[in-house]
Symmetry: C2
DNA sequence: ACCTGAACACCGTTCAAGT
DNA sequence: ACCTGAACACCGTTCAAGT
């Protein structure tokens, strides 16, 4: 046991726990994965996880942040597509974490920290979608509602089993409703 | 202990458990309420609840059915209103069970019986909304997508804290997008 | 058929103790 | 500062036993 543990070690151990938790959450679901399982997968004992993250919601937030950071990094690919394809890209991206979407909603009812994360996430996606719609020529006084509609539709498509063709059709209908009010 | 218990008794005891569970679920949430609490509130011991309902999801389904039946009964008030008000009425009605909406999504991932209930619920609301939009003159080939959008928006408004005025504005925007494609 | 006491395996979390 | 062994109170669920 080295006396002067480098700060680097702490980051590494933390990252290992997050990586383990992320994989387990994504393919078994938050509720189904116990602290003991996460700890075992990361090669520590469950109390250690508490030392790093405080509680189970703390790990969830760390996992959510990591997943979001990865998605933002990939958003470079996004530029040259046209509107429907852009929304489909976002949807596909979110589907990587679709199990976590339901979990965030469920935990938001009880955990203040998850609720805060959830609100920040919605503020971000709302702002991005408002920019999209403004660029499409939607008049300014209708942009807010349309962005909200788009967010809820994306969430709905995420949380319910829907065939790919239908996803495209529903998103196209959202855009049609939006652009029909545009001055162009 | 009467030897020939009337079948009536069974219904009554069952109803008492459902009533107790319903009240507890609605103001504390499904996860937060234990089988022991439900049983105590209904004046029995927890095993008895298993005898009547099989498992915790069984009680949830019974509660959902009761809540839905009450809502359908109240839907008589619904007739004379105009479109936005009708959607707002549905939203207000669903808000009585807003905590349960998140629960149904969460449990659907693990429980086949809850998933089945969830699908039936969506089929029903989808059919009702298709009728609404058809009556508004939306052309038949766009009705499906608009009904889906409306369902997801209602769900979104349910699951996120939104001010009343904004709810009306968002629902009005959905209808505007719909009727702009109408032949009328 | 209906209801219970007692137990089972597990959960998230805490805390005193070690290095 | 970092990590653990052992315990705590609780959970959904089961089962043999009673009437």
């Amino acid at each position: 046991m080295p006396r002067n543990r480098r700060p680097r070690d702490r980051e590494e151990k933390r990252a290992e726990i997050v990586t383990a938790a992320r994989a387990l959450f994504l393919d078994e679901g938050y509720e189904a994965v116990s602290m003991t399982r996460i700890a075992r997968a990361a090669g520590v004992v469950s109390n250690t996880v508490y030392w790093y993250f405080g509680d189970k919601d703390g790990i969830l937030i760390a996992v959510l942040d990591e997943v979001m950071a990865d998605a933002l990094e990939r958003s470079g690919e996004l530029q040259p597509l046209e509107p429907v394809e852009r929304l489909l890209w976002v949807l596909t991206e979110l589907e990587r974490m679709s199990t976590l979407v339901t979990t965030v909603h469920a935990r938001s009812e009880e955990s203040a920290s998850i609720r805060e994360w959830h609100e920040r996430f919605h503020a971000l996606t709302d702002a991005l979608l408002r920019l999209e719609f403004a660029a499409l020529g939607v008049p300014e006084d209708g942009v807010d509602e349309l962005a909200t509609i788009a967010v809820y539709v994306l969430e709905g498509l995420l949380m319910h089993p829907v065939e790919p063709a239908r996803k495209r059709a529903v998103l196209a209908a959202v855009l049609r409703g939006a652009t029909s009010t545009a001055v162009s």
